[in-house]
């Protein structure tokens, strides 16, 4: 469990949600720093990027938390974090913790040919999906990338209609059906809460009193 000031090192693709959850809960002791969301397409670079960030910020907080799942690093991220005793989000990737593992499993069973969009991916579809896959330069590759897919599933967090409309547009552009599931921040909040909520600035009688925080 976290004590004192907590620094969350978050994937840029989920930072907005992490900040929203923090603010809603009034976790003033939690600070968030992001790494570029583009690392998603080169997962082999994630462990080093996280480890460099840890080096950089470790003196600025009492507890560090990494808001990444395994994210395709196949255990390499855990090999960085375990010796340092730093926790991360559970699961394989962010789609899983945005929907919750069980719901995500059901969606995949229901239609293996599902391509998932989070709010972040809906907003940054052009940069991360289209440009990330080189479809801006080579639109003719779309069939090779998405030929096996049947539908786009928007795993929605904030529930805004404009995002939903955009997501439907992205599905259309890929020539796929569109499905919308509103999950809110619930599953992500559920993963963050146990680690972040009980920390906090030292109170006079708090068990996690931290000297630096005591005025």
């Amino acid at each position: 469990m976290a004590t004192g000031r907590v620094m969350v090192i978050a994937c840029g693709a989920i930072a907005r949600e992490v900040l929203r959850i923090r603010d809603m809960n009034g976790w003033d002791h939690v600070e968030v720093q992001c790494l570029p969301a583009g690392l998603h397409n080169t997962p082999q670079a994630i462990p080093k990027a996280v480890s460099d960030k840890i080096e950089q910020v470790r003196n600025q907080a009492d507890t560090l938390f990494v808001a990444y799942a395994d994210c395709g690093t196949a255990g390499a991220l855990d090999r960085v974090l375990e010796p340092l005793n730093i926790e991360r989000l559970p699961g394989a990737h962010c789609y899983e913790f945005f929907a919750g593992s069980e719901a995500f499993g059901d969606l995949t069973d229901e239609q293996p040919g599902s391509f998932y969009l989070t709010d972040f991916l809906v907003r940054h579809f052009e940069r991360l999906v289209i440009q990330g896959l080189g479809l801006d330069r080579h639109p003719e590759l779309a069939g090779q990338y998405f030929g096996n897919y049947r539908r786009v599933v928007h795993l929605a967090q904030d529930g805004s209609r404009s995002l939903r409309r955009q997501a439907a547009g992205h599905a259309k552009r890929l020539g796929l059906d569109f499905d919308y599931r509103q999950f809110g921040d619930g599953p992500l909040a559920a993963a963050l809460t146990p680690v972040l909520e009980n920390a906090g600035p030292a109170t006079d009688n708090g068990p996690s009193a931290s000297l630096e925080k005591t005025p």
Partner: protein, 228 residues
């Protein structure tokens, strides 16, 4: 290099220059040019097998190395693979006519739950380029389907691909199914996909993990030649 490039007339180049140019065209993903170059070499009397080995496979190997080293990215690799395919399409019927015996046979597929197939397709193509007969079961392949295909096709090698950490464990299910049926020892099992590693391959009882298509070809060759 674009303008000067547009002016190049492939048919005017010597064999050596043409091959260099075809390496560049393959690297740049210019499928029409690669097909044209392939046809020119055929017209000059080159054997299909030699064009495949010395031009297409060799050129694609350069692409593979630069992808591994992070110089090229997925779209470039796909474009290059498509160009190689354009050349291979011209060679395939000729190779079939010459009746050259394949050096081995492989059944390949992406495991259940996973529909990533770019890497698998590339491996399949390079294996074919190396003289293997390849039976591609596609994506989202169940253990039963793998088992049935192995019985039907009797390949030397089973290749499984997975790109998701959530689908990697299914490879174990496939291997267990083969073991239960007493089939496991009849085949060499090669596994691949970005999140895998040698340790995982050993843990599930595969014969080898292959980092990329070039390693896959080399490893498969060693197994069929009995030198592995």
């Amino acid at each position: 290099m674009t303008e000067e490039y547009d002016d190049i007339i492939l048919a005017d180049l010597s064999d050596e220059e043409l091959i260099e140019q075809m390496y560049d065209d393959l690297y740049d993903g210019l499928a029409d040019e690669v097909a044209e170059g392939t046809q020119i070499l055929l017209d000059r009397g080159w054997e299909a097998k030699r064009i495949l080995d010395e031009v297409l496979v060799a050129g694609m190997t350069i692409v593979g190395v630069d992808f591994r080293d992070g110089i090229l990215f997925v779209p470039e690799v796909l474009m290059a693979a498509n160009s190689m395919k354009a050349g291979m399409e011209l060679l395939r019927p000729i190779l079939a006519d010459t009746g050259a015996k394949p050096i081995g046979k492989m059944v390949i597929g992406t495991v259940k739950g996973d529909i990533h197939d770019i890497g698998k397709n590339l491996v399949g193509m390079m294996m074919e380029g190396a003289g293997f007969e390849v039976v591609d079961l596609g994506i989202n392949v169940e253990a039963e389907t793998f088992a049935a295909a192995l019985i039907e096709h009797r390949p030397d090698i089973l290749g499984m691909s997975a790109l998701l950490t959530t689908t990697m464990p299914y490879m174990q299910v496939v291997i267990d199914t083969l073991t239960e049926r007493g089939l496991r020892d009849d085949f060499t099992v090669l596994v691949g996909g970005a999140p895998l590693n040698e340790e995982f391959s050993q843990a599930i009882g595969a014969d080898a993990y292959c980092r990329d298509a070039a390693v896959a070809v080399e490893t498969a060759r060693r197994f069929v030649e009995g030198t592995a």
